[in-house]
C-alpha cells in the first residue's frame, strides 16, 4: 500500500473498477447491501498507532499508515457479508472533497480531524470552514489542514452557507490549478470516469476510519444513489444508535424510527432509500449539490439536511443511508451544547425549521391546511410542555410558529428555491415519510407510557405525582421478579400483612358483604348508585335536602367519587371498599410509609398492624365513619410527605404533592388538619430557629403544604371556618347514638374513643406504655420527640372533643364529638415512637448483664405485641356494629316511586325515642344519600318545622297537617320498633289516613294538595310538577305551563326561600321576562314564591348556581396548579449522556470504534 493517503491508488487499484459496466443500468433492488471492504485493513498494530496519533498534534496530511486498521466487529460482519454478497457491480473512481464546518467546536474538533485523517479511504481534498468561532476552532483547522484549506464563513450565515463557502474555496483552488503542499488538490483527471463528491462533516461528528470507504462502496453498489449518509452513533456511548436515516412527520417531528436509547446491534442495518440523511457525514454527488444549489440559506442550522434531501427526491435523485458507514455525532447544537448564537434556543430553532420545511414543501392548495395543523399541533404541544412545567419549551413551540407567521417571505424564498431546483411534487417522498398509523401509534404509546409510568416515552421520569404515593420501589411486594415470585410473595411481610388484615377485616364485617342493599347505618348514609350522582351532589349549589339547602358540599365526596370512578363508577362499592377494607388499606399505608423510619420489616409489620387495628379503626368501621377510614389511609402518607418537605432537600414540587395529600386529610377531618397546622408551626419554628437552623424556605414549603388545601377546598373550607363546630366533628351523621356518653378522659388516653365497635379498654395499654417508654432512649429522641409533640397535640384535641358539646350545623341539638380521629393520631404517634425506639434494642441487651430494664422491656414488648393480636381476635369474633346492608330507600316501594314522580312529594319519617321525643326526617325522593348529612339546611329551617311535627304526633288536630302538606309531605312513615301509642294518635289525626302497616312499619297519607310546587290562589292551590323528575337538581327546577287563571296568584316552589332562585316567564311572543320574588303569607311563608301572571304562562324556575360554579373553577385551577407543580418536571435527558464535561472524547475509542 502506498504511504500517501491522498492518492487515489487504492481506488485505481481496485480490481473490479475497470470491468465495471454503466452503474445506472442496475436496478436498485438487485444491488448488494454490503460493500466489499478492502482486505488490507486488517492489521492489529494500527490501533497503537492511533493512540500515538491522539497524543500528537493532528497534522494533515498525515504520514501514518492508517490504511491498516482493525475493528473486531467490522471484521465479523464483513466476513459474513463477503460470503453472501454478489460481486457484480463495478467500482468507480471517486473524488471526494470533505468539508468540515466548525463553529465553537474546539472540544470535539481534534477528534473529528484525527478520525478524518485516519480514514482508510482518504479523502481527496479537505476544506475547513470556520463560522466565526471565538474559541480555538480556527486555529485547530489551520494547524491541521493548512492556511489555504481554511475559509471563514460569516458568523450568522449558518451551516449551509459554511458549506457553500467551502465548496467555493475548493472550486477556486481547482481553477488555480495544482496547489503546493503535500497533496493533489484532487481535481478529477477526467470528468467522465471520475465521480465527484462532497462530504460534509460537522465539528462534532467523528467518522469511523472506514466511514468514507464504506460510503463510497455503498455508492458503487447503488450507482443511482446521489445523496448518502452514514449510520450515526453516539459520541460517548459509542454503540448508541442515533440515526439511520431520518424523516419528518406531518407535525414536523424528526422521526428516526428508533426506540429511545436503542443500541446498535445491526438491527437497522441495510442500505436503503430514506427520506433524508443527516448533514453530519452526508456524501453528495457534486453535480447534484450544484443542481440543488446546496442547502437552503433560510434554514441556518436545523432541517437543512432534510430540506435538501427532500429536494433531492423531488429532483428525482435517490437518498440512501449506508449503514456500514458509521459516524459518531455529538449533536452539540441540538442539545444546546454550544455557546451558539445561531441557535440560542435549539428547540425553538428546530421547531421553526421544521414548520418552515413543511410549509415550503406543501403544495400551494394544501399550504393553509398544513399551516393550520401545525399551529394547532404547536399549541397542543405547548400545553403538554406547560403540564411538564417546561415553560421555555412551551414558549419555543408557540414562538416558532409565530416567527414564521410574521416572516412569510422566508418561506416564499424557500418555495422559490424548490420551484427552481426540482421538478417533482413533494409527494414523491411520501412513501418514505411515517404513515399516519405509525404516528398515531407512537402518540398512543407515549400517552400510554405516561399513564402507566413505564414505557419508552418517559422511562426517566418518576411519574409519581404525589411523591409520597406508593409507587415504584415502595410497592416492594409488587416487584416483578419472575423467578420464585410466589415464594417471595408468601414470605414478604407486606404481603402477609395485607392478607392477614384483609382476612380479619372480611371476617369482622362478614355480614355486610353479601346480600341485597346498600351499606348504611351509624354515621353513614347509603351511597347513591353511581359515581355521577355523588359528583352531581358535589357540583350542585343547591341540594335537595329537606326543604332545600345551599350548604356547600363537602369535598370528601369528590374523594369517594374518585374511588368510585376507579371501581367502574359504582359508588356503593367505593364506600364498601373504603369502609370495610379500611383496616387493611390503613395497614398497608402505614407499612409503606414507615419504610424510611423503621427499616426492620418485622417491627414495621407490628407497627402497621397495630395502627390498622387501633380502636378508632374498629370503631370507625363499626359505626360507618367513612371519614376516619379515609383519614387513616391518607394520614401516614401526608405525615411522611410533610416530614420530607421539612428536610433541607425538600422541594416545592413535593410541597405541592403534600398539599394534595393534606387536602384529602382536611376534607375528611378539619380537626386533624388543624393539628397538622399547629404541629407545622411548632416544627417550622423549631427547624428555623432551633439548633438545625434550616433555611426559611422550609417555612414556605410547609405553608404551601398545609395552607394550600384551604384554597383548594374553597368554598367549603370557608364554611368550616365560619362553623367551627365542624372542626370537632367529622363527615357523616354526628348523632348521639354512635358516641359513648360515659366516655372518660382516660379512655381517650388509652386510645379508646367510645361508641360501637370498641375493644376492652385494657387492650391498648401495651401500646401506650411502649410509646411512652420510647422516650427513654436518648439516641432516638430526635425522632420520638417529634412524634411525642404530635401525640400531645392529638391528646389535647381529643380532650377538647371530650369536654365540649357542640351543635352540628343544621342540627338543633347538641352532640358530643367522637374523639376517634384524635385517638387515631395519638395511636399513630405512640406506635411510631415505640417502633423507632425498639430497633436495635435486642442488640443492646445481648451481652449486657442483667438489669431491671430487661424484664420490663420484655413485658412491655409482649403487651404491645398482644394489642393488635387481641384486637384482631376481638374484631374477628364479631364486634357490635350499627351498620346494616339494607335497601337504599327507607320508604315502601310505591312511596319511593311516587316521590320520584313529577309532583315530587316528600315523605316524613318519624320515630319516637326512649325519652318520649319524636325524631323525624323530611325525605325527598327515595331517601337520603351519602352527602345529605353534610349538605342539610341550617337549623332555623327545622325549627320552623319542628312544631308542626310535634303537633301532628300529639294528635292535636290543628293546622299542622295542612302545614306539612304545604311542605309537600304526602306520606308519613313510622319506622318499625316505635311506640304504638303514636299509631292511634296519628290515626285519629284529621288529615292523615292510614294506608298500611306491615312489620311494625305504619304509613299514612296526607290529604289535600301534597305536591311540592303549587299555584296558590284565592280559590285554593293547584298542583305543579317539577321539571327534574326523578333527579335532584334545580336546573331547571320547574319548567312548565302553569294552569290557566287570573287574579292574584303565586307560584310556590316548595323550597326554602333563597336569593339564588330565579324565575323566568316566557310570553306568547317568545320574550323572556324575570319575575320578582313574591311573599306568601300563612303556612307557606317559608317557601320561595313568584307572582304568576294572568293566563297560562310558561314559567321556568332555576337556582342560580353560578357562584358555586365560579368557586369550582377556582378549585379546578388550584388543583391544576398543584397537580402541575407536583408532577415530575419534564426531564430533558439526552440519549447520549455526558460522561463528564467538557465533552472531551476518548480519542482512542473514537478511532478504534469501541465503547470507552
Amino acid at each position: 500500500m502506498t504511504d500517501d493517503p491522498w492518492r487515489d491508488e487504492d481506488v485505481r487499484d481496485d480490481p473490479w473498477h475497470d470491468e465495471a459496466g454503466p452503474a445506472d443500468d442496475f436496478p436498485a433492488e438487485d444491488l448488494p447491501n454490503e460493500g466489499f471492504p478492502n482486505p488490507d485493513v486488517f492489521d492489529a498494530e494500527s490501533a497503537s498507532d492511533a493512540v500515538r496519533a491522539a497524543d500528537e498534534p493532528v497534522v494533515l496530511p498525515s504520514s501514518l499508515g492508517t490504511d491498516e486498521q482493525i475493528t473486531e466487529w467490522f471484521s465479523v460482519e464483513d466476513g459474513l457479508s463477503r460470503d453472501d454478497g454478489p460481486e457484480a457491480l463495478p467500482r468507480r473512481r471517486h473524488h471526494v472533497t470533505t468539508i468540515v464546518v466548525a463553529h465553537e467546536g474546539d472540544v470535539w474538533l481534534p477528534a473529528v480531524l484525527t478520525t478524518l485523517a485516519h480514514q482508510t479511504r482518504p479523502t481527496d481534498d479537505v476544506i475547513g470552514v470556520d463560522a466565526g468561532s471565538h474559541d480555538g476552532s480556527l486555529a485547530l483547522l489551520r494547524d491541521s489542514l493548512g492556511e489555504d484549506r481554511v475559509v471563514n464563513s460569516p458568523e450568522n450565515a449558518g451551516f449551509g452557507a459554511g458549506v457553500a463557502a467551502g465548496v467555493a474555496l475548493h472550486d477556486a483552488r481547482v481553477q488555480q490549478g495544482g496547489m503546493g503542499g503535500a497533496g493533489d488538490p484532487g481535481a478529477p483527471t477526467s470528468a467522465d470516469d471520475v465521480v465527484s463528491w462532497v462530504w460534509l462533516l460537522h465539528d462534532d461528528s467523528a467518522p469511523d476510519v472506514t466511514c468514507l470507504s464504506d460510503l463510497l462502496t455503498t455508492a458503487d453498489d447503488h450507482p443511482s444513489a446521489t445523496v448518502l449518509g452514514p449510520k450515526i452513533l453516539g459520541w460517548h456511548d459509542r454503540r448508541l444508535l442515533l440515526e439511520a436515516g431520518v424523516t419528518i412527520s406531518g407535525s414536523g417531528r424528526r422521526v428516526t424510527g428508533l426506540e429511545r436509547r436503542e443500541h446498535d446491534q445491526g438491527q437497522h442495518d441495510g442500505a436503503r432509500d430514506v427520506m433524508a440523511v443527516s448533514s453530519a457525514g452526508m456524501l453528495v454527488r457534486r453535480d447534484v449539490w450544484d443542481r440543488l444549489e446546496g442547502f437552503d440559506p433560510t434554514l441556518p442550522l436545523f432541517r437543512d439536511d432534510l430540506d435538501f434531501c427532500w429536494r433531492a427526491h423531488r429532483a428525482d435523485e435517490r437518498v440512501f443511508v449506508a449503514t456500514d458507514a458509521v459516524i459518531h455525532h455529538r449533536e452539540a447544537s441540538a442539545h444546546g451544547r454550544r455557546a451558539d448564537d445561531l441557535a440560542p434556543r435549539p428547540h425553538r430553532a428546530d421547531r421553526e425549521a421544521a414548520v418552515h420545511v413543511l410549509l415550503a414543501h406543501a403544495a400551494t392548495w394544501a399550504a393553509p391546511f398544513v399551516a393550520l395543523r401545525l399551529i394547532v399541533g404547536s399549541l397542543a404541544r405547548a400545553l403538554v410542555y406547560l403540564l411538564g412545567k417546561d415553560v421555555v419549551a412551551a414558549r419555543d413551540e408557540v414562538s416558532a410558529v409565530l416567527a414564521l407567521a410574521l416572516h412569510p417571505s422566508k418561506v416564499r424564498s424557500s418555495r422559490d428555491l424548490i420551484r427552481r431546483t426540482t421538478t417533482l411534487p413533494a409527494s414523491v417522498a411520501r412513501h418514505l415519510r411515517p404513515s399516519v398509523r405509525s404516528q398515531v401509534r407512537q402518540v398512543l404509546e407515549m400517552v400510554g407510557g405516561i399513564a402507566t409510568t413505564s414505557g419508552s416515552a418517559s422511562d426517566q421520569a418518576s411519574v409519581s405525582g404525589l411523591d409520597s404515593g406508593p409507587v415504584g420501589e415502595d410497592v416492594d411486594f409488587l416487584a416483578d421478579d419472575s423467578s420464585g415470585l410466589v415464594r417471595r410473595l408468601l414470605t414478604a411481610p407486606s404481603f402477609l400483612l395485607t392478607v392477614l388484615l384483609v382476612v380479619i377485616a372480611v371476617i369482622g364485617t362478614r355480614g355486610l358483604w353479601l346480600g341485597e342493599g346498600v351499606l348504611q347505618g351509624g354515621a353513614l348514609f347509603p351511597a347513591p348508585p353511581g359515581a355521577g350522582d355523588l359528583w352531581q351532589t358535589y357540583l350542585s349549589a343547591w341540594h335537595d335536602v329537606g326543604p332545600g339547602s345551599t350548604t356547600p358540599a363537602p369535598p370528601y365526596l369528590a374523594v369517594v367519587t374518585a374511588v368510585a370512578v376507579l371501581l367502574l363508577g359504582k359508588a356503593p362499592t367505593a364506600v364498601t371498599v373504603i369502609l370495610l377494607l379500611g383496616i387493611p388499606l390503613a395497614g398497608i399505608a402505614a407499612y409503606v410509609t414507615m419504610r424510611g423510619l423503621v427499616p426492620q420489616k418485622g417491627i414495621r409489620f407490628w407497627a402497621a398492624a397495630a395502627y390498622a387495628l387501633l380502636p378508632a379503626m374498629t370503631g370507625a368501621v363499626a359505626s360507618g365513619r367513612i371519614g376516619t377510614t379515609i383519614l387513616a389511609i391518607a394520614l401516614p402518607f401526608a405525615l411522611r410527605s410533610l416530614v420530607r418537605i421539612s428536610a433541607e432537600r425538600g422541594t416545592y414540587r413535593r410541597a405541592a404533592g403534600t398539599a394534595l395529600l393534606v387536602a384529602i386529610v382536611m376534607s375528611v377531618s378539619p380537626g386533624v388538619w388543624l393539628l397538622l397546622v399547629v404541629g407545622g408551626v411548632v416544627a417550622g419554628g423549631w427547624l428555623v430557629l432551633g439548633p438545625t437552623r434550616r433555611r426559611r424556605a422550609v417555612l414556605g414549603r410547609l405553608a404551601i403544604g398545609l395552607l394550600a388545601p384551604v384554597v383548594l377546598l374553597l368554598p367549603w373550607s370557608g364554611y368550616v371556618l365560619t362553623h367551627p363546630s365542624l372542626i370537632l366533628l367529622e363527615p357523616g351523621l354526628n348523632g348521639g347514638a354512635i358516641t359513648d356518653p360515659g366516655l372518660a378522659p382516660w379512655h381517650v388516653l388509652l386510645l379508646h374513643p367510645g361508641g360501637p365497635g370498641m375493644t376492652p379498654v385494657w387492650i391498648s395499654v401495651g401500646i401506650v406504655v411502649a410509646g411512652l417508654l420510647a422516650l427513654l432512649r436518648r439516641d432516638r429522641l430526635h425522632i420520638t420527640g417529634g412524634f411525642a409533640v404530635l401525640g400531645a397535640l392529638a391528646l389535647a384535641f381529643g380532650y377538647l372533643q371530650l369536654i365540649l358539646l357542640v351543635t352540628p350545623p343544621g342540627a338543633t341539638s347538641e352532640v358530643r364529638p367522637w374523639p376517634g380521629q384524635a385517638t387515631l393520631v395519638l395511636g399513630l404517634a405512640l406506635i411510631a415512637m415505640a417502633a423507632v425506639a425498639v430497633q436495635g434494642l435486642r442488640d443492646r441487651f445481648v451481652g449486657t448483664s442483667f438489669t431491671l430494664g430487661q424484664p420490663v422491656a420484655l413485658l412491655v414488648a409482649v403487651g404491645a405485641l398482644l394489642a393488635p393480636v387481641l384486637t384482631a381476635g376481638w374484631y374477628a369474633t364479631g364486634l357490635s356494629t350499627v351498620m346494616t346492608k339494607a335497601p337504599a330507600s327507607p320508604l315502601p316501594a310505591f312511596v319511593a316511586a311516587d316521590s320520584l314522580s313529577a309532583q315530587a312529594p316528600r315523605s316524613l319519617i318519624i320515630a319516637s325515642d326512649a325519652a318520649g321525643r319524636v325524631r323525624y326526617s323530611l325525605l325527598n325522593g327515595e331517601g337520603p344519600h351519602l352527602g345529605d348529612a353534610e349538605t342539610g339546611p341550617p337549623a332555623e329551617v327545622w325549627e320552623t318545622l319542628d312544631p308542626y311535627v310535634s303537633a301532628m304526633v300529639s294528635g292535636r288536630g290543628g293546622d299542622e297537617v295542612e302545614a306539612l302538606a304545604g311542605y309537600g309531605v304526602r306520606y308519613v312513615v313510622m319506622a318499625e320498633g316505635n311506640s304504638t301509642d303514636l299509631v292511634s294518635t296519628l290515626d285519629a289525626e284529621p288529615g292523615l289516613r292510614r294506608l298500611s302497616s306491615s312489620d311494625g312499619e305504619v304509613l299514612w297519607r296526607v290529604s289535600g294538595v301534597t305536591t311540592r310546587a303549587r299555584v296558590a290562589s284565592a280559590s285554593g292551590p293547584a298542583p305543579v310538577g317539577i321539571a327534574a323528575e326523578g333527579t335532584r337538581t334545580a336546573d331547571p327546577y320547574i319548567s312548565q305551563i302553569l294552569p290557566e287563571g287570573t287574579g292574584e296568584r303565586a307560584l310556590v316552589a316548595g323550597v326554602t326561600a333563597d336569593a339564588g332562585w330565579r324565575s323566568d316567564v316566557v310570553d306568547a311572543e317568545g320574550g323572556v321576562r324575570s319575575l320578582p320574588a313574591a311573599t306568601v303569607s300563612g303556612l307557606l311563608d317559608w317557601s320561595q314564591a313568584f307572582p304568576v301572571p294572568n293566563g297560562a304562562p310558561l314559567v321556568e324556575v332555576t337556582y342560580d348556581g353560578s357562584a358555586r360554579d365560579r368557586w369550582l373553577v377556582l378549585q379546578l385551577i388550584t388543583l391544576l396548579v398543584l397537580v402541575v407543580m407536583a408532577l415530575p418536571e419534564r426531564v430533558r435527558s439526552e440519549a447520549d449522556e455526558d460522561v463528564d464535561r467538557p465533552d472531551a472524547i476518548d480519542v482512542d475509542a473514537a478511532i478504534v470504534g469501541e465503547a470507552p
Binding site: R777, A811, T812, S950, A975
Partner: protein
C-alpha cells in the same frame, strides 16, 4: 444505653395533668329526659255517633256540647267552629255551636235511615267537645232506652259483651268520616279463643258512610264475645248495638260501650244497684293466660269478695262470670288486676232491660255525658270512684233549651271521694229545659277518678235503664319535643 428519664417523666406528667383537667371540665351529656314536654289545647275533635238502633218507633236524639271553662277556649269562640252534621256534611242552625258552653242537637223520630252523624269541633271550640246519642222506644218492639257516647274516630276499638246465641242480635256499626274508604278487620274472641271469621276481615267502609255487620253472621252461636275493631287503612268510628228477645218479648237492648284498650289494671265503673245478673266478661288478648284479681270498690270502701275474687282467663279467650252474688245489689266499681293486659266489659240485667258498662282507665280532668233527659220519671245517678287516692270533683250541669245559645253551668256541687270509695250521686235536673249535659271535673291536686252514670226511667212496661262509663274529655294533648334527625331515615 443512656437513658433519659427526664422526658418520660415529663410526658407522663403532661398526660396525667391533661387527663385530670379533662375529667374536671367534662360536661355531662344532656340527658334525654330533659326534653321539655308541652301541653296544648287540641285543635280539632271529631266524634262519630253510631247509627241509631232498632226500629222505626225509636226516637233518636243526638246531642253535642262544648264544655266551657277549659284551656284553649276563646270566650267568643270566634276562631273556632263546632256542631253536629250528617255524613256527608249537612248542617242546620240548630246543630251548630258558636261559643263554649253552647250545645246542639239533631232529633229524628220515625226515621229508619238516619245517616251517620259526626260532632266536630275546630279551633277554640275543639277542647271540651262531647256528644252522645240517645234512643228511646218505651213501647215498641225495641222496647228500650239506649244511649252511648260518640267516640273519637280511631283505628282500634274494643267491645266486650256481645253474643250470638238465638234471640240475640249484636251488630257492629262502623262509620267512616273521611272521604277515602277504610278497610277494617273484625277480630272476634269467644270462650274458646279467636273465632275464625274470614267474613270479618278486610271489610270496606266506604268514605263518609257506614257499614253494619251482624255478629251472628260472623260467629254464630257464640254466647260471649269480645270484638276488636282494627282499621287497616283509614279511621273509623265504631259502636256495637245489642238487643235480645225472648220469643217476641224484648228483654232489653243497649249500646255496648267501648272498652279501654288492653292494660293490666282495668276498672269497670257503673255497676248498678238492684237485682239482676251482672255478667263480667274478661278477655286476655295475647299469648299468655291471665290471672285476674277482682276487687270491689263500693261506697264504703274497697274489698276483695269472698268468692269470685280471682278468675283465670286463657289466652285470647273470653270468660264470662256473673258477679251479682258478691255485689250485694249495691252500686260498685270493679277493679281488675291482671298479670297480663286484659280487656273487660259487663252486661247488666235490670228487670226486662239490659245495660252495659265496660272497662275504663282512671283519669284526672273533666268528663261529661250529654243529652241527659229531663223527665219526672227519670233518675240519673253518677258513680264516681276514686280508686287510688282521695279525689275532689265538681259536678255541674249544662242545661239545653232550644234557641238558647249558651248555657251557664248550674247546680255546681263539690264532692270529695275518699280513696278507695265510690260516691253514688243523684243528679237533680234543672227545670224548664229540654235536656242537659252533666260535667264532672277533678279539682287541682285531686286523685284520678273513674265515672259512669245510670239512668233509670220508670215506665209502665217496666223500668228502662241505660248508662255508660264517661271517657275523659279531650281538651289538651301532650306535645312531645320533636327533633330533626336524619338518622331516622336509615333502616
Amino acid at each position: 444505653m443512656r437513658l433519659s428519664y427526664r422526658w418520660l417523666i415529663g410526658a407522663i406528667g403532661v398526660a396525667v395533668v391533661a387527663t385530670g383537667a379533662a375529667t374536671l371540665l367534662q360536661q355531662a351529656q344532656p340527658t334525654l329526659t330533659d326534653a321539655a314536654v308541652q301541653v296544648e289545647p287540641i285543635g280539632s275533635a271529631v266524634l262519630l255517633c253510631p247509627e241509631p238502633g232498632a226500629s222505626s218507633d225509636l226516637g233518636v236524639r243526638v246531642t253535642a256540647a262544648v264544655v266551657p271553662g277549659l284551656p284553649g277556649q276563646n270566650a267568643e269562640g270566634d276562631d273556632g267552629s263546632a256542631g253536629l252534621r250528617t255524613l256527608p256534611g249537612k248542617e242546620s242552625a240548630q246543630s251548630r255551636i258558636r261559643v263554649p258552653g253552647g250545645q246542639a242537637e239533631i232529633e229524628a223520630f220515625g226515621s229508619t235511615a238516619l245517616p251517620p252523624i259526626e260532632a266536630y269541633g275546630e279551633g277554640s271550640l275543639a277542647p271540651g267537645l262531647v256528644a252522645a246519642q240517645w234512643g228511646r222506644d218505651p213501647g215498641g218492639a225495641g222496647r228500650s232506652l239506649a244511649s252511648t257516647d260518640c267516640a273519637v274516630a280511631s283505628s282500634e276499638f274494643w267491645f266486650v259483651g256481645g253474643g250470638a246465641i238465638a234471640g240475640r242480635r249484636t251488630q257492629i256499626v262502623l262509620v267512616n268520616p273521611d272521604e277515602n274508604a277504610a278497610i277494617v278487620d273484625l277480630i272476634i274472641r269467644g270462650p274458646d279463643g279467636i273465632i275464625d271469621a274470614p267474613a270479618g276481615r278486610g271489610l270496606v267502609v266506604p268514605g263518609q258512610d257506614r257499614l253494619v255487620v251482624r255478629l251472628d253472621v260472623l260467629a254464630p252461636g257464640v254466647p260471649a264475645t269480645a270484638v276488636q275493631v282494627l282499621a287497616r287503612t283509614g279511621r273509623v268510628g265504631a259502636a256495637v248495638d245489642d238487643e235480645q228477645r225472648s220469643g217476641l218479648t224484648n228483654v232489653g237492648s243497649d249500646w255496648i260501650p267501648q272498652a279501654a284498650p288492653p292494660s293490666r289494671t282495668v276498672y269497670v265503673p257503673g255497676v248498678i244497684n238492684g237485682d239482676g245478673a251482672r255478667v263480667l266478661s274478661v278477655t286476655a288478648p295475647g299469648d299468655d293466660d291471665a290471672v285476674v284479681d277482682i276487687e270491689i270498690i263500693a261506697e264504703d270502701g274497697t274489698y276483695a269478695p269472698a268468692e269470685r275474687s280471682r278468675i283465670e282467663v286463657s289466652a285470647d279467650s273470653v270468660v264470662a262470670i256473673d258477679m251479682s252474688p258478691v255485689l250485694n245489689r249495691e252500686p260498685a266499681t270493679l277493679k281488675l288486676t291482671s298479670d297480663v293486659p286484659i280487656v273487660a266489659g259487663m252486661r247488666q240485667f235490670f228487670g226486662n232491660e239490659t245495660s252495659f258498662t265496660a272497662g275504663a282507665l282512671p283519669f284526672t280532668g273533666a268528663a261529661a255525658a250529654s243529652g241527659l233527659p229531663v223527665r219526672t220519671a227519670t233518675e240519673v245517678r253518677v258513680a264516681i270512684a276514686a280508686p287510688e287516692e282521695e279525689a275532689t270533683v265538681e259536678l255541674s250541669l249544662l242545661p239545653y233549651k232550644r234557641g238558647r245559645e249558651a248555657a251557664e253551668p248550674t247546680g255546681v256541687r263539690t264532692i270529695t271521694i275518699p280513696a278507695g270509695t265510690l260516691k253514688w250521686v243523684r243528679i237533680s235536673p234543672p227545670t224548664g229545659v229540654d235536656w242537659y249535659t252533666a260535667v264532672v271535673a277533678t279539682q287541682e291536686g285531686s286523685g284520678p277518678i273513674v265515672v259512669a252514670h245510670r239512668l233509670k226511667e220508670k215506665s209502665r212496661f217496666g223500668d228502662l235503664v241505660t248508662g255508660y262509663p264517661w271517657p275523659p274529655l279531650r281538651t289538651e294533648v301532650v306535645i312531645p319535643t320533636s327533633v330533626q334527625d336524619p338518622a331516622v331515615a336509615m333502616r
